[in-house]
Amino acid sequence: MNLDFSPEEVAFRNEVRTFIEENYPEEMRGTGAREDLTRDQFLAWHKVLGKKGWAAPAWPEKYGGTGWTSTQRYIWSEENARVDAMMPLPFGVSMVGPVIYTFGNEEQKARYLPKILSGEEWWCQGYSEPGAGSDLASLKTTAVRDGDHYVINGQKTWTTLAQHADWGFFLCRTAPNAAKPQEGISFILVDMNTPGIEVRPIITIDGGHEVNEVWLTDVRVPVENRVGEENQGWTYAKFLLAHERSGIAGVARSKRGIERLRNIASTELLDGEPLIKDDSFSRKISQLEIDLTALEFTELRTLARESAGKGPGPESSILKVKGTEIQQRLTELTLEAVGSYGAPDFRGFPSDGSNEFAIGPDYAHQAAPTYFNFRKTSIYGGSNEIQRNIITKMILGL
């Protein structure tokens, strides 16, 4: 056991740092809330990485992965966080991609994986339904076989950034009379331009349009778009959820957030002194950083286990719970740090493209919306209550 980077790893860090410095798109530096980005902005870095072959470091090399060790991947995410990089969105690279290369057939791998890597095709996730959130297995969207097509009917919700999506992966019920709700579900890839699909925006409490309802009415999808076996979709769904959870800790990003918070607290004044000199505030930052360190080393242990050939297990629930709690506290402290200037609502501003209406310091503008928005993190990806249920069942055996 040791914590030092080997000379090779130091060389690797220098290589990726230089690459990021030279190639991270200029127009993406200093961009604000993610949900306000355009499609092109979301994809700007992804496309660069696609060309370089670095879009999906965790994938097996034969499908376009980098073959990096877990330490190299750790270095990679650290270095990206340094510039607050807008990383490739998880829906293709971290979610459907691994399902396709693990359970898909050769045609599917050849058809979908390259365009996920290149960023040419944008994916969204058709999992949750109005009546099936935490209890995902109770989903009601049906896919009924009609010759060599499925006809899909139902409604999905909380579909992140579906407004930009070219493709979606949908969980649909293909055997309505199965004995258990987890049985009789299939994993189906759907071209979002198919007739019968309607994407309706859901505006969240921060004022953003990040999530959507997706309505499916007699949507005809070729049977060949099903991944794996019919009625075995739950297995693939669970596999995907475990992958989703492992990326969810957000350690590198939270580190960057703490750094930003320290900068804010060094600028904000309390009785004429920097806020950071206030014991009660600086201790809260310390506490957060200590908790983040615990999370970081838990994640490193998980990664090491993964690179030893064991997939992400139920331990990844720890990363989800602790990671999101830290992210939320970070947004909470940031809002606290900016004081009264957390109140102005910049989204509602008369915007004429000039900076004339800039009120208060720039770093305050996103503090409240981000805090509001990040309440989602303990809800999505399997709520933190569900993660605790998983640990209860899978690890404690209760």
Binding site: G131, T204, I205, A343, F346
Partner: protein
Amino acid sequence: MDFNFTEEQTMIRDSLARLIREQYDFDTRMGVVKSDSGWRPEMWAQFAELGLLMAPFSEEDGGLGGGPIDAMVVMEEFGKGLVVEPFVPSVVCAGGFLKHAGSAAQKEEHLQAIMGGASTFAFAYAEPRGRYNLADLETTAKKDGAGYVLNGHKAVVIGAPWADKLIVTARTGGDRRDEGGISVFIVDKDADGVTTRDYPTVDGRRASEVYFENVSVGADALIGSEGDALPLIEQVIDEAIAATCAEAVGAMGVAHQMTVEYSRQRRQFGTPIGKFQVLQHRMVDMFMEHEQSISMTYMATLKLGEDAVERKKAVSAAKVRIGQSGRFVGQESIQIHGGMGMTEELAVGHYFKRLTMIDSEFGNVDHHMRRYTALSATDLAAAAE
């Protein structure tokens, strides 16, 4: 000891609750929040008609003979309805300054207008670099003949877009952060040299940055005497805090009720989610936080008339409790509502946002914890002597 409300207070509560129920439902409120003006002057007129705006003032001043408890009753109902109209800035703050220190002429001119709803005030005290320290002022008022000339920048002045007059704190002497040398003025919002930038706030209200550039006011603009207004400002802000705590109590109660109701309706795993013990206990904790917030709000409101140290400790204790409870209740309301709690179309998220922002009004948890601790140290030192 008596925690009962008078007949008059109960009447105010009932008629206000009915008005809000009938004319301030969530959809109407959202329409108003998104409208150009962001409030309803006609609603303000109805509040005046009901006597709300004169309720906390003595009969001698032309009021209904009530006090802080009446303001508490009003603000709790405002909290339940997420009312945006500026009761705290205009009635509690501006009215408070006039009540405590206004001259007969000032009361005659301004307090009557506030109580009748003809005039709306905002309270410009916070500054970009002052955080929550009321004495950390860069705004100056320089003696000029009989009057004064004001210069400075006031930050996030709640309700200023709707106000025709401002109460402004400024330094007439002393150094930045000195306790002495602070004065309070009444300034017409349309006076020469006053400019504003108006904007919406994240919790559905309106505020302004207010800039004073060589604004001349007469000697009659000064409230109380020159240079020693800090104790008065603290008194008024303590009253505003108590009223804001009542608002938080109202909002917390509704958020909790909505959450319990949702947990009854929402079914997952074949059962209402309210049947899950982990959520039950969390909602019990929300209930306890709400109850304790009610207690602290009563306590602080009842002690507003005590000597300064006793009053400040009571108010800071309440604000700490309300800040912490409001955060907990708000966050858990969203969590238990799940994704639905994140949507703009559901009311619960708006209660969460208001509860969040109340913490940073008139000093957050840390600020009041610090004030409470300092006052306790003073108490201890006095006891030791």
